[in-house]
Symmetry: C2
């Protein structure tokens, strides 16, 4: 694989930092330039060896860069693309790691329309409840799915080169349309995050919250692990994908209404059958029966 | 600690089996007699060294026993106590491992009223999504909370001896009233199980369930871990504790209604603040700030 020379990572946290470390580990970059909102985070990333150089502006960062990764919370994508656009050279490739795709793509058409041939959206399915450069590691994406949502205007060579970069992280590449992507992840990722935050928030409001947390055990811990996720990142995802997410929330509320009726009737057999179906499907999933 | 001589474990799965293994590991039993619905499970438990002897009836099992542990799903407690009552000697101690306490105690008063001085209800907070004797291990309860809900009629010596048995599992003992127990665990255990089963069931019903499971990742996996729990056990818990659980479900539905309104308004700051409060409270919990 050909080296990427100089790359720019905007947002040097878990995802951006891990992308940089993976390409470094494979010797595929000469220099990683970091850009971001907080100098303290950039300095931490530099001291950890995640990035080589701190840029204080886009003009400086993009000088001679072959590839840019946008890895901030999706709420910052629009403003970031607006700011980078005037400084982007015609041949520089751009990809992103946004957890939602339709809103990011709206930003691409709004601000990078002259560069759209070289802007290939992506989403690595490699979250963690930890964030920041100290959580980054070269193997974060190894064996994980990375979804590309190429645009009709994308140049074939640009897609190929961006694929190479994501393959270098160890990711397993898939392609979907942006709308399909946002619907699927509303179901399997965004909704569970919302539900986990909701449960912890519900418990934390109680007068006897101390007692309740005191008796919470491993089931509660695992169910709510994703409620320790980055609040700003998840705010942005929920707002960006709120239409699909509201649809998912309604489907889930209908499911809970059905279960509530079974509880009110004390219908043990129907509850057991529902639990058994869920258990069997989950176990089949864990056994790899739903690999796509 | 004085040995318990012969003990009877009714239900030789994860909890009953682990209790037996713990007492054996500490040399506190001479013989563990197993009793249960399925001969195949009892034979498996015996071949694994979890129990020493298989009993085919209560008369045989209780002969010279000092302590009985009832460790079946709570839906079987009533019938089990009815069946054991005629064969229970005046001095034999009884405890249980039921996940709900009010219904078990109703069974005690209904069937074991002559023995109530020696029947001390308990609940080890040591679940797992695995079940059966092969999942049992001596250290399952080590460092875990074990809640005792002693009855007013309990003999002080009986409480002390049952405490010793649970302490021998490595459990950390707490006491609560049965009603308080059932309310607290409705919140921190029963509701999350219901919510996890509901999400997997919801996803499994979809036309594109294969695709959805295919893209589900570690967040979904941990959130739904408890949906791989024993369906019959959780049917029994939900039915037995349905009044407290319905109250919890309503509180959660109110929480979701609030979040739904924030999503509809696209209110990012309020969502972020809610997520942040949840994250901070959960992190404080993990840091041990809610130890009781």
């Amino acid at each position: 694989m050909k080296s990427f020379g100089r790359i720019v990572v905007c947002g040097v946290g878990l995802i951006g930092g891990s992308f940089a470390l993976a390409l470094k580990a494979r010797g595929l970059v000469r220099e990683v330039v970091g850009l971001g909102r907080r100098m303290s985070t950039l300095e931490e990333a530099k001291s950890l060896g995640v990035i080589d150089t701190i840029a204080t502006g886009w003009a400086e960062a993009l000088e001679g860069a072959e590839l840019v990764l946008l890895a901030m919370p999706v709420g910052q994508m629009d403003e970031t693309m607006r700011a980078m656009a005037p400084h982007l050279a015609p041949g520089t490739l751009v990809t992103d790691a946004g957890s939602t795709k339709r809103d990011v793509i709206e930003g691409i058409y709004a601000h990078l329309s002259e560069h759209v041939a070289n802007v290939v959206p992506a989403h690595p399915i490699a979250g963690a409840e930890k964030s920041g450069p100290s959580a980054a590691r070269a193997e974060l994406c190894a064996g994980r799915k990375v979804v590309l949502t190429p645009l009709p205007e994308n140049d074939a060579d640009a897609i190929e080169r961006v694929r190479e970069a994501w393959l270098a992280t160890g990711g397993v590449l898939y392609e979907m349309s942006p709308a399909e992507h946002d619907r699927v992840f509303a179901t399997v990722s965004h909704l569970p995050h919302l539900l986990a935050y909701a449960l912890v928030h519900d418990v934390a409001q109680r007068e006897n919250a101390g007692q309740l947390f005191g008796y919470a055990a491993s089931g509660f811990r695992d169910f709510t692990r994703i409620a320790s996720s980055h609040p700003e990142m998840w705010r942005d995802i929920c707002v960006a994908n709120r239409h699909a997410l509201l649809g998912e929330l309604d489907a889930y509320l209908a499911e809970l209404a059905g279960i509530k009726a079974l509880l009110e009737e004390g219908d043990g057999p129907a509850l057991e059958s529902l639990f058994k179906e869920a258990r069997d499907k989950r176990d089949a999933w864990l056994a790899g029966q739903y690999n796509i």
